[in-house]
Amino acid sequence: MKKKNQDKREENIDQSQKKSLWHEIIKARWPYFFVSPFYFLFLIFGAFPLVFSFILSFTAWKGTGPLVFNNFNNYKLILSDKVFWQSMENGLILFFMYVPFQTLLACVLAVILNSKRVKWFKFFRTVIFMPYISSMIAAGFVFQLLFGSRNGLFNSILGFFTIPPIPWLDSVWGARFALCALIIWAWLGYNMVIILAGLQTISSELTEAAMIDGANPAQAFFLITIPLLRPVILFCVITSTIGSFNLFGELMSLFHATGGVGPLNAVITPLLAVFGQAFHNFKLGYASTQAYVYFLLIFMVALLQLRFFNKEVD
């Protein structure tokens, strides 16, 4: 009897607590209204697609009819899918081809523009940043005129010095080189501006003190400025890495003759592979498998980069 009473009392307390929780939520309803549009849209256009595409990745769905599971066939298929692994490899190759170079160049430019030594700071910053606003479709097309194998501008200039034309867009490494030239053109200014903002948050006294102590500018740059900028550089490197796996528009225009993939799939990216499977071959199921495997791998790459940079801090 006593115990029952106690239980009841606990229940009451529990309910009154529940009530007060609800009461609090209703009393504080405004912030929930304010943040709800994001979660509402995310449920429909983010979370549901994520689940849906996970389910699709186990089917051979072609856009119509019932979803029929085919076990792990898609995942078995992907292991031997040369085009898909080529696209992952291309992402890595591109990363090594331009990310270290672009990041270093952006750092050097930022340090130069940040020193009071150079006049027309604003002019140079504007000019270097300007390509960032350009549509990659338009840009890719101009670069096709510049790198054209038969009569592009660069080959004409080489021809002027009687150097034989280089098949930029028609050879595997030429295509990758031209692509890197386009990416650096478009993104160098973006990275520079971010590093410049990072530089403005660190005091110049440290480098000045080091220089007084006898460090040369190169030592001050590599031993003081760069380590202080690590978080900002990390941001640039991770964005560039994800970017080089996600190229799409620039490929569609620069390599439009091959549908964006380049000679012998030299520049195909995972995004392009998924797009082709889904919207040209209508293999929506298999394309979802590719997308998920890619998601998993790029997530691990980003984690590795985070660890690599954090390790260096210690």
């Binding site: 994001f38 699709l56 606003i133 053109w185 997308a291």
Partner: protein
Amino acid sequence: MNKKITRLLVDILLYGFLIVISLYMILPFVWMISSSLKPENEIFSIPPIIISKNMTLEAYKTVVVDGNILRILLNTFIVAAGATIARLFFCSLGGFGFAKYKFIGKGPLFAILVATLVVPFSVTLIPLFVIMAKLKWTNTFLPLIIPGAASAFGIFFMRQYISTINNELLDSARIDGAGEFTIFLRIILPIVSPGMTSLGLIFFMGAWNDFLWPLVILKKPDLFTLPIAINQMIQSMIGRPVYSQQMAAAVISIIPLLIIFLVFQRRFVEGITAGAVKG
């Protein structure tokens, strides 16, 4: 004397470096404009010609008259402006909620918001397209505006910006009897308008240049946005390209953004760096 000479040498080196980089950045723009004005046979002449006597606006005329480019410009503007306005509203509203209120579940909700940033578009692309087809939203501008109307990045950005506003300002408005939504409209929005300009410029540029998603959604030439229209033009001219017309279309697509960028440069750069440096 010796010091002066090394100083001069360093200056020459620095400026030379900056000028070479700048020339590389400008070259594609110059070549684009030059090629759009030149007769076809001069685009590939050796040595290259930048300014020619035979320059003509013929290509622009063809693109405007036959290519329907004014309609396409209007489409692009409607999509970009619509997406920007919707995003700015919902992002500043969400940012306000996270910056200025304490509520149960705030931490986990914010963690979810940040976590959504890692999901690549390729994973949700296919189901999103299926949803749009089921809703019969393909060949409308709705898919380009509604799904992204509240971006996680934008909410994150506005939260940072709004959290710098003094709480006493909000409390005094509450004492005067203002409702929470009125506070948002009358007090928060005017104060954060510089931040909204920065964010709006990024959203506008993103929507103006967006390619993949409109390519999937828009199939009717009357509804094309600029990147889709230029791509279509390139594809349809395979084998017999008319480069001057393609370059004219490219110039037309870049000029509006270029003007906006040059006018609002400071805000633009602020918007881009805020997320990276503070975040």
